[in-house]
Subunit: 227 residues, 2 copies
DNA sequence: TAATTAACTTTGCTTGCTCAAAATCAATTG
DNA sequence: CAATTGATTTTGAGCAAGCAAAGTTAATTA
């Protein structure tokens, strides 16, 4: 059995892997992601590589093997199912559940996880809109664009929030920018680096302005694509 | 913060403490309870004693300080509330939840525990009939007798099962000897060391025979006392 | 090409927890 | 009272994970 430390490393290697599949994840990025000094990451990765869960190339970086990826996806599945349970059944606020799941993901048994999955009726997405891998380790990916590159004016639907920090999520909640919300991008100002949004909240139209950096944290689905 | 190892030791010290309050818990008993060699228990207890959570007297044994007892009771509260949640909300079988709670008890946050307590409506007993300490660390004790010393013939109500092992609990379930069940002790045979019980199950009367050793694992409440 | 710099690895050390085996203590037995 | 025995403690060692600081490497700059 993989220790909780190894589970955390594998999950971070998966989440932080570069978009380009041919690239390796550097040790600097990994050590920052798991919150450990670079030396520690190097020696842990060596150990995990001895267990054939990652490939490690000194000075190049690290990459999951198929076995390692399966394990990472199982941890991710646990994490996200737990988050959804905490919100939907236990009634925690969605800004709190990430921290909580970070611990619980290492201790729920397969049996308990199966029950959670059943109770939630085999959900596909967690409270932040992140896809929940299947028990077989398959990720169903949505095709989305961010609030930075989606077309102006057309109605869209918020699919996913990429920042899990509690403060940010509370702000998001306040503005009504939750997953599922219907919004439109009114305008973008490249000088001010801001995006103006039209949010429909309880029938009323609200205008919300966010920076380019924040706009990139929202993934939206176009309505015409949905058909 | 106490590590999960220390939490486990404190809980076991509490659960295994001798009935006579003036007695100390011996290292032999403790090491067996936490599943560790005697030498390991000795050195851990030394460490825990440096943290003023227990008193330790070489060759005499170990005893919780008030601070240690509070901590032990908090762990126990988490354990038992989690067990009840797993049975009542997640629908796990009561024979499975002890193992599960053994891990979960170390990672649920105070906030989550408060939600669980609310959802279950501040329960006083877990699925095995064990009392759930209050958030303030108070144990409400029931006064009970075992199936070995309760009077013959009078109607009683099963209050608590003292053996948490999965196999045994499944057997208990089968016989209908769950907490809450109405039963009577028909007879005791001191030669055969057996107790015969009358169990009322779906209107019908069943007879179940168990040994003295097993009888001691059931705590029952007398009906006349209930008033 | 040589020097600088940033990223990475190595080394040495610490902490928490564990075991096996040897040593010690205290209670009982002869 | 001496010897035996069972429980307990001590000792020596190992493993997993971590940090700090020193040493390497490779890319960039001059
Ligand atoms: Mn985690
Ligand atoms: Mn999430
Ligand atoms: Mn435990
Ligand atoms: Mn219980």
């Amino acid at each position: 059995m993989a220790s909780r430390t190894i589970e955390n490393y594998l999950k971070q290697i998966y989440l932080s892997r570069p978009a380009d599949e041919t690239q390796w994840l550097t040790m600097g990025k990994l050590s920052a992601a798991v919150g450990v000094t670079p030396g520690t990451a190097t020696s842990m990765v060596r150990a995990i590589s001895d267990a054939h869960l990652v490939e490690y190339e000194p000075r190049a970086g690290v990459r999951l093997t198929p076995a390692g990826e399966q394990l990472a996806l199982h941890v991710l599945r646990r994490h996200r199912l737990i988050e959804l349970l905490l919100v939907q059944v236990l009634g925690l606020d969605w800004s709190e559940v990430h921290e909580e799941a970070e611990e619980l993901e290492h201790v729920v048994s397969d049996r308990l996880l199966a029950r959670i999955d059943e109770i939630l009726q085999h959900p596909a997405f967690d409270p932040h809109g992140d896809p929940i891998p299947t028990a077989g380790g398959v990720v169903r990916s949505q095709d989305c664009c961010t609030l930075l590159d989606c077309p102006l004016g057309s109605p869209t639907n918020i699919a996913r929030i990429l920042d899990q920090s509690a403060d940010f999520l509370q702000y998001v909640n306040q503005c009504g920018l939750l997953p599922g919300a219907d919004i439109r991008v009114a305008s973008r100002n490249h000088q001010a680096q801001t995006v103006e949004l039209l949010v429909i909240k309880r029938g009323e139209n609200h205008v919300v302005a966010i920076s380019f950096a924040v706009a990139e944290k929202f993934l939206v689905q176009m309505y015409d694509r949905k058909k």
